[in-house]
Amino acid sequence: MKFTLKIWRQEGPHEPGRFVTYEAHEVSPGMSFLEMLDGVNQRLLGKGEEPVAFEQDCREGICGSCSLVINGIPHGPDQGITTCQLYMRRFCDGADITIEPWRAKAFPILKDLVVDRRGLDRIMQAGGYISVNTGGAVDGNVLLIGKDQAEAAMDAASCIGCGACVAACKNASAMLFVAAKVSHMATLPQGRPERERRVSAMLEAMDREGFGSCSNQYECEAVCPKHISARFIANLNHEYLRAGIVESGRPSEPESPHAESS
């Protein structure tokens, strides 16, 4: 098989980018999309030209590194997979394929197809955790968690943090990403004590990082390689509203540690 690739090339975050056309020859249907790109890069290197920078690591769809918009769709034409799981048998011989990076204000391009996704880490740092110290945990069976509940938490926790949801969203919103983490932890008893603080902090961080708002188009769900459902966004909204009510019903913080006794 052979293909004509239109690939986004950009030297650095502040340089202008452009599409450059490359030919991919001797592609076999059993090659993965990234192996096809490896071939293109090996040929570029052979000519002393700089290869196309793109991210990849595990090549089994779990690390969340790979991040290509293929013919306008994050992770390409098939649902429920990452770019590294896409195989060339999925394309017609001789086709044109356009390859772009994730495009979002919160994901500045570092080089070619590589973007900076640290914004997602900073959202996690704002509240995507359960504050427990190492050591002294109670026996794992003390908390009884029904199978359905555990499965629901697992559905949400499957998120690989690739950012396809952001890339697909016209508002470049990270709602599905935040919703997955908030829902995972709110579903489990361990996550309940910090439930209100977590949802508020993560949403504030999302805004701070320059991700947009959700306008319920569900494009995030359509491209999510792990089938994270948009119903978790409804869950997130519920959690956020709930947090507002719970927080407003709470007595305000005492001003000094001695205020209570005065």
Partner: protein, 637 residues
């Protein structure tokens, strides 16, 4: 001169760790604040160590080469994590997990370390539940278990086929908390390129910012390497592309002994290699062997479709050779059995490199839905890669390099032979001996990171005499200069062959001569070929771009350069170990029916190699004493 002192506490096995912890010196909370620890790598071991050290009050500088700490390769572990909880009441105990691991490792690991690992295993599960990890549960709400290769109890905890992902995300979330608290400073997209030693103590690292290319020194009071294994030396492996030996290899060149490098695990169930373009091999979880049956046609060639071959004409070779464990024989044994039938010409698929992993019996007995629920994601992955439907016809699988039991030598405190340099997780050698059992690497990574290192490093920091050093210390400047020189050298060769070409050639060489089975002749020829390949590399490698920018080809070439040196160490070790044990199979040392012949009289030791400039590495031996489990013939028949 390297001296090996394993520092194993004396006394009864059961209380070694408790007594050791009590005798360790502590660092007071006030002083912890003044101490900085560098943690390199953010897999299970690195992330759990960095977060726990931060929580204890140390300042932690944490490094990873990925864009986010959450992408470390622990994320790809599928099957599960072992713990001696005995929730199934099937006779499990700390003692049994200890025994299984010692035996599974073919009596080439330390009893004290393994016992501690088994003890700590139960705490890991509790800790992970507390962190919100959504382990599989029974309808009544209790934790579920499955069984795994090499054992006869169900002690493996799991999150569908994504256990590594969930455990890593748990450790990552704990790390996020400590980053938010300011206890941990995270340096993503930063790669360790050298170690800084001051007065013989590990005091920092030289790292390259992979975005700007800036090379800088980072100093600390101790350094922890959690940089994983070196299976990628074989070019094709189940590891992620980025996994590399650079950190541990650099440490070796600074005097940290490297132990048992020849103990490399070849996993039996990966999707067979396809063509020259192939960049990696994809693992199919060991859990599949719970229900799948391995077979090949009894006679070759047999061109019928697998479904047309009647049961009587199939050779279920694992069930035949190892009736007691059947398809759940340990990895090294299963891999070798696959190799044997393929070498006999009975392999199936392209090039005869493959055997069937057949689910038709379990589908018939328990129904398609049950199989789909258990393994759906794996069947989907198989379908995407091969274009075949494993619900209809059996999978084809073939062994692939997967994990490395060898690693930097560490004592009971997980400290290498370089004072202040600690090594945890797959990067060290300690717990798995000559073969690792399934679902044990997650256990070891988290044991080291959450529960062992945070104690033992405290004793070092409390007792070592550590003067403050500036980041522009002469040793740091010297190390930076060496790194810069090396990078410039890579960029100025401007040859004709890419780093990948050299890597592939090295990988093929090692797979053929230092892979699933090894011979003196093969290893000797590899030792002659590797230096030549290395010379060619430095004469003819093509690296484009510059050192002061984002340059993936430069990163990769640097890693390949280290593989080209490390491969020699691997072969030296394999050549010297004139016995077959665990994953190390020397064709000269086997029984008549092809089982490995271990030689406890001559080789019951850890082989720890010391680096010598421009010379053959020097072997040091740490004798292995088995006080509690007398070594026996490891039989799974």
């Amino acid at each position: 001169m390297t001296r090996l002192n394993s520092k194993i506490p004396s006394g009864p096995l059961e209380s070694k760790w408790d007594r050791h912890r009590f005798s360790e010196k502590l660092v007071s909370p006030n002083n912890k604040r003044k101490l900085t620890v560098i943690v390199v790598g953010t897999g299970l071991a690195g992330a759990s160590a960095a977060s726990t050290l931060g929580q204890l009050g140390y300042h932690v500088e944490c490094f990873c080469f990925h864009d986010s700490p959450r992408r470390a390769h622990s994320i790809a572990a599928q099957g599960g994590i072992n713990a001696a909880k005995n929730y199934q009441d099937d006779g499990d105990s700390v003692g049994r997990l200890f025994y299984d691991t010692i035996k599974g490792g073919d009596f080439r690991s330390r009893e004290a370390n393994v016992y501690r690992l088994a003890q700590v295993s139960t705490q890991i599960i509790d800790q992970c539940v507390a962190l919100g990890i959504p382990f599989a549960r029974e309808y009544g709400g209790q934790l579920a278990n499955r069984s795994f290769g090499g054992v006869q109890v169900s002690r493996t905890f799991y999150c569908r086929g994504q256990t590594g992902q969930q455990l890593l995300l748990g450790a990552y979330s704990a790390l996020c908390w400590q980053i938010e608290r300011g206890q941990v400073t995270m340096h993503p997209r930063t790669e360790l390129l050298d170690l800084i030693l001051v007065d013989g103590q590990a005091r920092g690292i030289v790292a390259r910012d992979l975005v700007t290319g800036r090379i800088s020194a980072h100093t600390a009071h101790a350094v922890v390497l959690a940089t994983g294994g070196y299976s990628n030396v074989y070019y094709l492996s189940t590891n992620a592309s980025g996994c590399n030996v650079t950190a541990t290899y650099r440490a070796w060149k600074h005097g940290a002994a490297f132990a048992n490098p020849c103990f490399t695990q070849i996993h039996p169930t990966a999707i067979p290699p396809g063509g020259a373009h192939q960049a990696k091999l994809t693992l199919m979880s060991e859990s599949l062997r719970n229900d799948g049956r391995l077979w090949v046609p009894k006679v070759s060639p047999d061109h019928r479709l697998p479904g047309d071959i009647p049961s009587i004409e199939r050779d279920y070779f694992l069930e035949r050779r190892y009736p007691r464990f059947g398809n759940l024989a340990p990895r090294d044994i299963a891999s070798r059995a696959v190799k044997v039938v393929c070498d006999e010409g009975r392999g199936v698929g392209t090039g005869g490199q493959g055997v069937y992993l057949d689910f038709s019996d379990v589908i018939e007995q328990q129904g398609l839905d049950v199989v789909r629920e258990r393994y759906g994601n794996l069947f989907d992955m198989y379908h995407r890669i091969t274009g075949e439907d494993a619900y209809q016809a059996p999978m084809r699988i073939y062994p692939a390099p997967h994990y490395t039991m060898g690693g930097l030598w560490v004592d009971y405190n997980l400290m290498s032979t370089v004072p202040g340099l600690f090594v945890i997780g797959e990067a060290n050698f300690a717990d798995h001996g000559a073969n690792r059992l399934g679902a044990s690497s997650l256990m070891q990574g988290l044991a080291d990171g959450y529960f062992i290192l945070p104690y033992t490093i405290g004793h070092y920091l409390a007792t070592a005499n550590l003067l403050p050093i500036p980041e522009d210390h002469a040793e740091a400047r010297g190390a930076i200069q060496l790194v810069e020189t090396r990078i410039n050298r890579l960029l100025t060769v401007k040859g004709h062959r890419t780093a990948a070409m050299f890597h592939r050639e090295l990988g093929t060489l090692l797979w053929n001569h230092c892979g699933m089975s090894r011979t003196e002749g093969g290893l000797t020829s590899a030792l002659q070929a590797i230096p030549k390949l290395r010379e060619e590399f430095w004469r003819d490698v093509m690296v484009t771009g510059s050192g002061d920018s984002f340059n993936q080809e430069l990163e990769y070439a640097g890693r390949v350069a280290d593989y080209l040196e490390f491969a020699e160490l691997l072969c030296h070790d394999a050549l010297h170990r004139q016995e077959s044990c665990g994953a190390h199979f020397r064709e000269e040392y086997q029984t008549e029916d092809g089982e490995p012949r271990r030689d406890d009289a001559r080789f019951a030791y850890v082989a720890a190699w010391e680096y010598r400039d421009q010379a053959v590495p020097v072997l040091h031996k740490e004798p292995l004493a088995f006080e509690f489990v007398p070594p026996t013939m490891r039989s799974y028949q």
